[in-house]
Symmetry: C2
DNA sequence: TTGTACGCGTTATCAA
DNA sequence: TTGATAACGCGTACAA
């Protein structure tokens, strides 16, 4: 029951703790093979496990990374977490996870908690400007890596994907299918994400010499939002819809199902994120895929203090059947 | 940049570290209000954050819980993690998350890592018998709480749901819709889960005085498995299918879509878990819901050393449209 | 080749 | 009402 410490081990092996430490940390090149073997054998036998708290206290390195997400239920974040966790474990790090429900206070609390635990870096998907302020005020700029929801200030470390390009990609796909009147279901408008996607989207339409109209509805990136906004959408004459994340598109699918409306016959839809599930919807959802693993790798580089402080990775359009050609302009 | 310690704080305030410690831990009932105020003010001003490693070293309490999951991408585990994380945070604990891909070695590695970090308890969804052995060998019985995938030995702590009942529920629903020839797509047969569900399922059919037949196909709880097994299922004459988790059912939906087979017209399907997405499938999936939050609460109780060591919680059938009455027996 | 001694940031036990 | 001081378990100069 009692925990074996290095002291116990030393006594048992008839050597000093210093010797034990050297052996266990593979810095025993100058020790006799006999003692090395003895110590290692005993460590195994007694089931010695080093105390990371003591180690961290001494070395000031915790081998621990904190990840703060708004929602571990959102498949996009989950996939991201999985990749990050994978790379981290490979590199010998431990992952601490905190969930904030997208609430500002929770985000700041999470940062504080992680600071207490002396995690080496925090990877943060922040939903509020106040969190950025907090990081700035406390001079945590090099301690926090912002992920996905970006405020593009040079003082911050961040990794994200190219939202402007994503918006443009969607617009081009819609235009290719002759949609010039489109509804745009955004997320909260203070997200840089949202602004960028919209900017890219609008830019493409403007470049294109054809009259067009874009009407925005603001959602909050939840399934529920898509479901609720459906009522408004049903009444609207426009039939091409760009949902700024897949979750809201799913909500809309659901509303259509309830209302016995056939999406294939009535709507042209594009989502964003390419979460795993959307390919199983009917019709399968056309969407913009963010390069999750590449982003996770960049995060790793930032953790290891390599590479650029800012990374904006390219996205790709995944064409599925939810985007049909509109036959004629109304 | 440099971290403020209690020593710094003590010097600044002109008191001893002991005093500082007392103030910060709210055990200063016998100190003068003046010093209390001074210390607290300075702590705020200098941005003092206590070092949890030092604290843990001393108190032997890390306020940390380790959660080991096979797959943080599986919506069922994710929802579970969310609830556990929620209750944990409420209680002032930190959550360490580890992902194992369902690989035996990874599971054991994760346990070791968490031991090093002196987490107070480990919550473990284990996929391998070898992991149970490991826990037993190392006398970790009271250190590990097994979740969901249970080996029902009294020596272990575990929290799960009533798989036997779940299987029975499914059978009764199928019988109510006059299905007496059914396919059963299971998970790996060494899972106690799978055995129990099957036992409950069979029992109900046996009790019912009507000729019946149950054919099992073994999957591995992934979407892919459902997709692959579809080929076999298509060739089979039986049209009622019990998938032992929703993911495999989703895979089957996908295969049907690819093959242009209408589920509504051809099949009666029941899944298991009630992950969020299945209600958005078409047709929405009938499935067995596990009481996720109740399970998370039990886990909390076990962490806090309250309540029974073993908990098996009741499940409920969620009826949706994937289960139609079969019109006539073939 | 190995051991001694100290420090990391806390808490807890005394004594003052 | 406060302050020394000894742990906690580990790493690491430096000495032997």
């Amino acid at each position: 029951m009692k925990r074996i410490t290095m002291k116990d081990l030393a006594k048992e092996a008839g050597v000093s703790v210093a010797t034990v430490s050297l052996v266990l940390n593979k810095k025993a090149s100058h020790l006799s093979q006999a003692t090395i073997d003895r110590v290692e054998r005993l460590a195994k036998e007694l089931g010695f496990v080093s105390n990371l708290h003591a180690k961290s206290l001494k070395t000031k390195q915790s081998q621990t990374i904190g990840l703060i997400l708004p929602d571990i239920t959102n498949a996009f974040f989950t996939q991201m977490a999985k990749r990050i966790e994978y790379h981290l474990t490979q590199a010998g790090y431990l992952l601490l996870l905190n969930h904030t429900d997208g609430v500002a206070i929770q985000e700041i609390m999470a940062i504080k908690r992680f600071k207490q635990l002396h995690v080496e870096k925090i990877v943060l998907v922040a939903s509020h400007v106040s969190t950025y302020h907090f990081v700035e005020e406390h001079r945590l700029n090099h301690f926090v890596i912002f992920l996905d929801r970006i405020i593009t200030k040079p003082a911050f470390c961040w990794v994200g994907s190219d939202d402007y390009q994503g918006g443009a990609l969607v617009a081009r796909a819609l235009i290719a299918h002759h949609h010039y009147h489109v509804l745009c279901v955004t997320g909260p408008s203070h997200f840089t994400n949202v602004q960028e996607r919209l900017a890219g989207f609008r830019e493409v339409y403007q470049q294109n010499n054809h009259p067009y109209d874009v009407v925005c509805l603001e959602g909050d990136f939840t399934v529920d939002a898509g479901d609720r906004l459906a009522k408004t959408i049903f009444k609207h004459p426009y039939k091409a819809i760009f949902f700024m994340n897949d979750l809201m598109a799913i909500g809309f699918y659901h509303a259509c199902m309830e209302a016995a409306i056939s999406i294939q016959e009535q709507y042209a839809i594009i989502g964003y994120d390419d979460i795993e599930f959307v390919r199983y919807l009917s019709p399968p959802l056309t969407t913009v895929r963010q390069p999750i693993d590449a982003m996770a790798r960049r995060v790793m580089h930032l953790i290891l203090d390599e590479g650029e402080m800012h990374e904006k990775l390219p996205v790709t359009l995944i064409s599925r059947k939810s985007l049909y050609a509109k036959r004629e302009e109304e």
